[in-house]
């Protein structure tokens, strides 16, 4: 998929035959197969690192791609400075060690604080680190692609069946199984490895054996990061080093571990080979959208083995995202009136502000709807999607197609466009709801990236990187004021509809599946059907927001369904308060306004944003609205205590935060104590 995810990586050393003379000869297939195997090596290194870390710490390290990229950059610097045989190979190994040390530092400073937090928070925090690294890398090494040296001693090519295969590729082909064997020995023949395997099975038992768990975790994390750094460093003779390689590899790695099974090193190896070969041959079968092949295989594996080829079923999920023990209430009459007043006041904006402000406000309205749709899935359903932008973007493309291809009027496009998002949600959602927790997050991300790749690669239809231009609103809605009113109206209606859904019987069914899958099944609720429906509902509203967005911007681009857009949505929900009903809207308004302001103030917006995400996760996991509700609740309890001191059970209402990961019920502890 490296050709897919980020196309800016030039393949320098690709000694495969010229694309034009793509003859279907046996020789050609053999060489193509070898190229696939060589690509698999790095992919395996990175994926096995992710798997090992997950096995012990239960953290899916989103920043793994960032460490892969760092490995490549550091190796570039070292091999550039120290030439010759030892300079090169020493540089590669030292680069991986340096990156591993940075990884250990990250584990000590950040991860130790969030081991018990919900999965969503761990993914987000490590994603925040990824963002920060992206800006730091550009700061240190500059934005241009860097081309590293070739490997001394392995510069040439070997003649195989009359075609030239780079010696370095052959080296990588051998290296993959060697590393696999080395890891096996490490885990089965050393005391440390045995401890790690024991910790993978049962963490508490290892703690009981008197092993220092803290440092065991740190060393495991460092090993995983070492493998990622090594994978990156080994790529420099093959590919240019770019500051985009982190996201492209992480998506590939997610696909690999979803197929191979999280926690299984052998699974990672098999899946890395499978995915790399599919990429190598996919180009031949679907030259335009080779990604489809990987998608099909991943889908098949998931149907047959939801936990991957060699993965094991996850135990019951940890506390899902969005779970609060403060029951939600519909708005009171007064609160409704206040909201109405706010909306009416927002409607007066065109009389007091200029055109630019109105476009910004319209954009905020669009994103409020987008965030609300994600909130429905993530908070109400407990399903943290890392690829929600897919449905936003599909809605945008749908509207653009309707306008430019079929010449629909704006209203028609706004109604039909989102259907593309709906279709995507129906298709992808069917697979995603079979999984939960981190698997769900990874799969949604992979699907979104697949949608992105199609938008990017299928140039004839989507215009590729150039997007689709000329998606302008109808003349009656073309003034910033009228378009703002349109956006506001659609957004408000959408948000109200989602809120009605939250408190409808369906909303209760959805929350029920989130709170306890076991109980829900035991009272006749079909979990995957309910969650699938929620996925489609969320995708529908995201699609509506996307269609509006297309008309707001007058164009659509692959960026509209890219990972950063998905993460924007997650941050909005988190910032507003993941355990609350109205957090998403508040979060969207604050975040979007902040982001627009930030971009105008600094070049390092990713660094700042990443830091904000990490800070939010570690220090304010309840978000703005959650924080406000806590304050209110505390004041109320105090007032109550003044009146009737004898309240029944200890008011735990404000105690367990998702950040600290405290279980809301004492039941599992009782069981352990037995």
């Amino acid at each position: 998929m490296s050709s897919v995810a980020q196309p800016s990586e030039p393949r320098r050393n690709d000694a495969g035959p010229d694309q034009n003379q793509r003859v279907a000869s046996v020789e050609f297939f053999v060489v193509q197969f070898l190229t696939g195997l060589a690509s698999a090596a790095s992919l395996f290194l990175v994926a096995s690192g992710l798997s090992i870390i997950f096995g012990v710490t239960r953290i899916v390290n989103f920043a793994h791609g960032a460490f892969y990229m760092l490995g490549a950059y550091v190796a570039y610097t070292l091999t550039d400075r120290f030439e010759g045989f030892f300079g090169f190979w020493g540089g590669i190994v030292v680069a991986a060690l340096v990156v591993a040390a940075v990884g250990a530092l990250l584990e000590i400073v950040l991860l130790r604080r969030i081991y018990r937090a919900p999965e969503l928070f761990q993914l987000l925090a490590t994603f925040g680190v990824t963002l920060m690294v992206q800006d730091l890398v550009v700061m240190i090494w500059g934005p241009e692609d860097l081309v590293g040296p070739r490997a001394p001693g392995l510069r040439g090519a070997v003649d195989i069946l009359g075609l030239a295969v780079p010696t370095y590729d052959l080296f990588l082909i051998v290296l993959g199984p060697l590393v696999l064997g080395g890891l096996w020995i490490l885990f089965h023949r050393t005391r440390w490895g045995v401890l790690v395997r024991a910790a993978t099975q049962d963490r508490d038992m290892v703690a009981a054996l008197g092993v220092n768990q803290t440092w065991l975790f740190t060393s495991v994390f460092a090993l995983g990061i070492f493998l990622a750094g090594l994978g990156g460093a080994l790529q420099i003779p093959r590919n240019a080093v770019t500051h985009l390689m982190d996201l492209s590899i992480i998506v590939e790695v997610f696909v690999v571990v979803v197929i191979g099974g999280l926690g299984s090193v052998l699974g990672a190896f098999i899946a890395a080979v499978l995915v790399s070969e599919l990429n190598a041959f996919g180009i031949l079968i679907f030259p335009k959208i080779s990604i489809v092949l990987v998608f099909l295989v991943m889908a098949c594996v998931l149907i047959v083995r939801p936990w991957g080829l060699l993965g094991r079923a996850e135990g019951p999920a940890r506390q899902p995202a969005g779970l609060s023990i403060r029951p939600w209430r519909p708005m009171s009459q007064n609160q409704r009136l206040i909201m109405l007043a706010v909306v009416v006041a927002a409607g007066f904006a065109p009389f007091v502000t200029g055109d630019y402000a109105l476009t910004v406000l319209a954009e905020i309205a669009v994103f409020a709807l987008f965030a609300a749709s994600l909130h429905f899935l993530m908070t109400v359903g407990g399903l943290a999607s890392f690829g929600h932008a897919a449905y936003f973007g599909l809605g945008a493309y749908g509207a653009a197609f309707a306008t430019t291809m079929f010449g629909m009027p704006m209203i028609g496009s706004l109604l039909l466009g989102p259907l593309l998002g709906v279709a995507g949600a129906i298709l992808f959602g069917w697979f995603c709801v079979r999984l939960s927790g981190v698997y769900f997050a990874m799969l949604t991300l992979a699907f979104a990236q697949i949608a992105w790749s199609i938008a990017f690669q299928w140039v004839e239809v989507t215009g590729g990187d150039n997007g689709i231009l000329g998606v302008w609103p109808a003349s009656w809605a073309s003034s910033p004021a009228t378009f703002y009113w349109l956006a506001l109206a659609v957004s408000v209606i959408g948000i109200v509809a989602l809120r009605v859904l939250v408190f409808s019987p369906f909303g209760y069914a959805l929350r029920a599946t989130r709170d306890s899958a076991l109980r829900s099944e035991a009272i006749g609720i079909d979990r995957s059907r309910v969650q699938w429906a929620a996925f489609v509902i969320a995708g529908t509203f995201a699609g509506i927001a996307g269609a509006l967005f297309a008309f707001l911007k007058g164009s659509v681009f692959p960026d509209n369904l890219a990972i950063p857009m998905s993460v924007d949505g997650l941050v909005m929900v988190l910032l507003g308060g993941i355990e609350t009903v109205s957090g998403a809207v508040v979060g969207a308004i604050v975040y979007k306004a902040l982001a627009i302001w930030l971009v105008s103030q600094t070049d390092l917006s990713k660094l700042v944003l990443g830091a904000i995400i990490v800070l939010l996760v570690v220090a304010f996991p309840k978000g703005i609205v959650g924080f406000a509700e806590d304050l209110l609740a505390r004041r109320r309890t105090r007032a109550d205590d003044g009146g009737s001191a004898a309240r029944t059970a200890p008011a735990k209402a404000t105690a367990p935060t998702s950040g600290s990961g405290a279980a809301p019920i004492a039941a599992p502890k009782m069981e352990a104590a037995r």
Partner: protein, 257 residues
């Protein structure tokens, strides 16, 4: 007598080399209260989980109201009229106590697919009636997440009664409760079972509760049934004594009494 509520024949399950349950057979009549007892790890929960379809069985057949349940999912078995409480309670901590019951009622009336209308207003009275049965009427508005463990157990009973079950499967229904509460809950269960002629299968570590309330007792050890009969028969069975010897359980005192 009419068809038994539950007929179990040759039920077995093993995990790797561990025979969690082997060759268990029994029947349960309407209105009967049957206790399944045995030391920790005897296979009691595994039996319950096979009966309500939560885990698949290796061998054996289970008939509920004469209907073979092979291949049915828990939610389908629930629709046959089976209520279930769990050893480790499974409730909805983000909802109030009443809402927990309301969700089950909505499901029973097949209304959970509705996309609008305030769910909190539906089946309000019926939910309160069920909560009243288990003595939790006062707690209806409380967040379920802050209930004491014994209250969660009672809530589970209320939820289990939602679909007017013919069979109740209760895995340690009184664990974590004060002795008085235990007696009250089991009395209540017995009354309901007799009135509505529900068959009750329950397991319990507190032998006072078992011997006082069960009509019949089966003893499971290492997956196999080693004894069965009336409380008096089981009490005097030497095999049973051997199994419980050294457990230091209440049973010792009971037997002497």
């Amino acid at each position: 007598m009419s068809t038994p509520i539950l007929e179990v024949e040759n039920l077995s399950k093993s995990y790797g080399g561990v025979h969690a349950v082997r060759g268990v057979s029994f029947t349960l009549a309407a209105g009967e209260i049957l206790a399944l007892i045995g030391p920790n790890g005897a296979g009691k929960s595994t039996c319950f989980n096979m009966l309500n379809g939560q885990i698949s069985r290796d061998t054996g057949s289970v008939r509920i109201l004469g209907r073979d349940t092979a291949g049915l999912r828990p939610r389908e078995i629930w629709r046959l009229g089976v209520g279930r409480t769990f050893q480790i309670t499974a409730t909805y901590p983000s909802m109030t106590v009443r809402e927990n019951v309301q969700v089950a009622l909505l499901s029973h009336h097949r209304e959970l697919g509705r996309l609008f209308g305030f769910a909190g207003a539906r089946h309000h009275a019926e939910a309160d009636r069920l909560l009243g049965l288990v003595g939790m009427r006062d707690l209806a508005e409380r967040p379920c997440g802050e209930l004491a463990y014994g209250d969660l157990k009672r809530l589970e009973l209320a939820i289990a009664l939602v679909n007017e079950p013919r069979l109740l499967l209760m895995d340690e229904p009184t664990a974590g409760m004060a002795p008085k509460e235990r007696v009250a809950l089991m009395r209540l269960t017995a009354t309901i079972a007799r009135e509505q002629s529900i068959g009750v299968l329950f397991t319990e570590h507190d032998m006072d509760v078992v011997f006082e309330h069960a009509d019949r007792i089966m003893v499971l050890n290492r997956g196999s049934l080693i004894a069965g009969g009336t409380p008096a028969e089981v009490r005097n069975n030497p095999d049973v004594k051997a199994v419980y010897l050294g457990e230091g359980s209440v049973y010792g005192g009971e037997a002497a009494a």
